[in-house]
Structure formats: C-alpha cells, structure tokens
Amino acid sequence: MASQRDIRRRIGAVKNIRQITRAMQFVAASKLKRAQDATLAARPYSEMLDEVLADVAAVLGGEDHPLLATADPAGKRLVVLITTDRPLAGPLTSNAVRFTLREIVDHPGSVTMVTVGRKGRDAIRRAGIPIEAHFAGFGDRPTFADIVPLARLVTDDYLSGTYARIDVVYPHFVSTLTQQPTLGQILPIVASTDTKGIPGNQFIFEPDPSAVLEQLLPRYVATRLFQAVLEAKASEESSRMVAMKNATENAEELIEDLTLSYNKVRQANITREMIEIASGAQAR
C-alpha cells in the first residue's frame, strides 16, 4: 500500500491539475462567447451576398463565368479542412479528420488537401494524403483579411483547372455540446434561386451583370470560407470548454478517492502504533 506521504503528494498534484483545467474551462467559455458573437455578426453579410448572387444568377448562367459552371465528376478534388492549432479541444479534430477520411474513401478519386490548423495538418499527414498548402494561426479573432489568401489560392487553383471541385470540411457549431463535422461545396458555386419577390431579371446592373459577377464571385468564396473558419472557432472553444469541464470533474472525483484512501492509511497507521505500544507495555 502506498505510504501516507505518497498519497498526500498525489492529492497535491491532482489539485494542481484541477486548478489548471478549471482556468482553461473559464478561458474557453469567454472565448466561446466572443466567437459566437463574431459568427452572428458575420451572418447578415453572407445572407445578403447570397441574395445578390441569386439576382445575378437569374440573368447569367454557368456559361458566363467558370466559377458558376457545373463540376466535372471525374475531375480532381481539393478539400479544405479547418481544424484548430491548439490541443486539448476534446474529440473535435479527430472527429473532423475521421469524417474527412470517410468522405475520401466513399468517393474514390484523386484528392488533395489544404489544411487550416496545425492539428488537422498533422493528422492528414499521418494518413498519407497529399497536402497542397497549410495555413496556421488565424488566432482567436479571425478577420476577413486573414481568409483572403486562402480564398485566392483555392480560386486560382480552380480557375487554372487543377481541381474540378473544391469543398470545405469544418466542425459546424450546433450547440455547446454538439459540433457536427460538415462538408460544404465551395467551387463551383451553387447559386440559390430565391430572389426574394423581385425577379432577378428586373434588376438594373451597374455597370453590367458580368462586371458585378466578376466582383461578386471571389468575395463569395472568401465569405463562405470565412463563415467556416468562424464556425470552427466557436466549435473549438465550446469543445474545449466541455472537455475541460469534464477534466475538472474527474480531478475532483480523484481527489475524493485519494483523500479517502489517505484517511484509511492514516487510521491504519495509528491503530498499528497503538497496538505496538499496548503490546510493548504488556510485555514488560
């Protein structure tokens, strides 16, 4: 049986761990709030952009811009996987990676990846899937400007014909307890047809529809990616918060158990000493 001192030392160590996990839990909670706010604040823009795209798509079609064309099913695919840079975020990354790998197995063909976040890159590299590019550290507050290089890279790759289809995989933020790995098609763009009551062909386009489209499509790509990154951020923080909450609770349980066995050992020692004294006195 472990000595009294050993157990006391272990209790101290577990208490330290509990302190750290609890601090991480609170930090994640406050970051989650911020990430959720950012996700909500970015929503109006992307909704409006969808609407304008629907207006333009009512006038122009796939033959007017390559970004709107339909995907060649036999072509190569590029998958952008958005994960975290930092560890201790629960099963978030492994779920997203598993989801991606299943998607790749289910749809055979040539696939290349672009990874955002160190954790995802490491996992994809281990799985032996080619990585074309890696982006790290959008930080705690990703800005739209951070996403622009990524958007440009995938758009250029698509336009040059290297890939026929580009998807993004990210952990969709359902609630604090649930994050669902989700796949969204980035390119070619699938325009919505809902023009909110006014037929798209009644709009005047200034200077003309194709000039608007030319400006619109790259921004649309960047906005979709930005949304995915914001969602991933909110998912990361909520997943970390829950993981750290569990860790704190486990530490508390462990402390209780250890305290119990510490008291048992202590009592046993006292009893033993008393027997020794008593039997010593008798022997005299």
């Binding site: 970015a42 609407e51 608007v212």
Partner: protein, 142 residues
C-alpha cells in the same frame, strides 16, 4: 415614405436604420437613392456614403463591395465601412504615415506593397471623411 438602409461588412453589421435618402459612391460615380428607386445591383467604389435622415446627415467611409437596391430597402455590402463618428483622426493619420513609410521604404514583396497601398488609400479616405465632419460638424438642415 422612408427607405431602410443596411450597411454590412464581412465582419459586422455597421448601420441599420430607416432613412430619407442616401448617396453612395458607386464604382462609376455617385449614386443618389431615394425611396421607390428601381431595383438595382451595383458595384461600389471607395468614398463617402452620405445618409440623409430628417434634418441631419451622417456619413460612413466605405471601400469596395456592392449595393443592392429594392424599392423599400438599400443594402450596402462593403469590404470596409466605418462611421465617420467612429473614425479616430489621429489614428488614421498615424496609419497614413506608417503606410507611406512602408511604400517609400521600398518593400519588395508584392503582396506587402499592395497591402500598404490599400492601407494608405483607406487612411486617406478616413482622414478626408473625418476632417469634413470635424469642419462642418453634424450638419442640420434648418
């Protein structure tokens, strides 16, 4: 009859209110929009967006993006948008000096140079909008 104006950027909703009219810097020149305007989609240049509301006028510095007009609603989707009242003149001037220094310093990297140019353009616009506001104050039409 009023017009509902929304100004959004990829990061946030900047302005949302009912207004009497708005003047927008289009990519091919200024566009004045009043209620019952014909449906329109236009690309945005950079400049000052002026909002007329009752007796007062507000302005927003906007750069790049789009504008969608419906009979009762105008939505401006800008790359960047800052309310004139929120612009810190000193900080804009500091940003201008930094950007000028970066350009003069002969940055060789192409992305850096274009980023510095964009930053300079933005700072100049902010200074222009903020100074005009400073000079005239929030204008009122008796």
């Amino acid at each position: 009859m009023t017009l509902h104006l929304e100004v959004v950027t990829p990061e946030r909703l900047v302005y949302s209110d009912d207004v009497d009219g708005v003047q927008v810097p289009g990519s091919d020149g200024e566009l004045g929009i009043l209620p019952h305007h014909a449906p329109l989609v236009a690309t945005l240049g950079s400049g000052e967006l002026r909002i007329k509301k009752g007796n007062s006028e507000e302005s927003i510095a906007v750069i790049g993006g789009f504008l969608q007009v419906r009979p009762d609603k105008v939505v401006v989707m800008a790359e960047s948008a800052n309310l004139a009242a929120e612009i810190d003149l000193e900080r804009a001037q500091q940003a201008r000096r930094n950007a000028e220094k970066a350009i003069e310093g002969g940055l060789s990297g192409v992305p850096d140079l274009s980023a510095a140019r964009a930053e300079l353009q933005r700072a100049l616009l902010h200074i222009r909008v903020a100074e005009r506001r400073h000079r005239e104050g929030p204008r009122s039409h008796g």
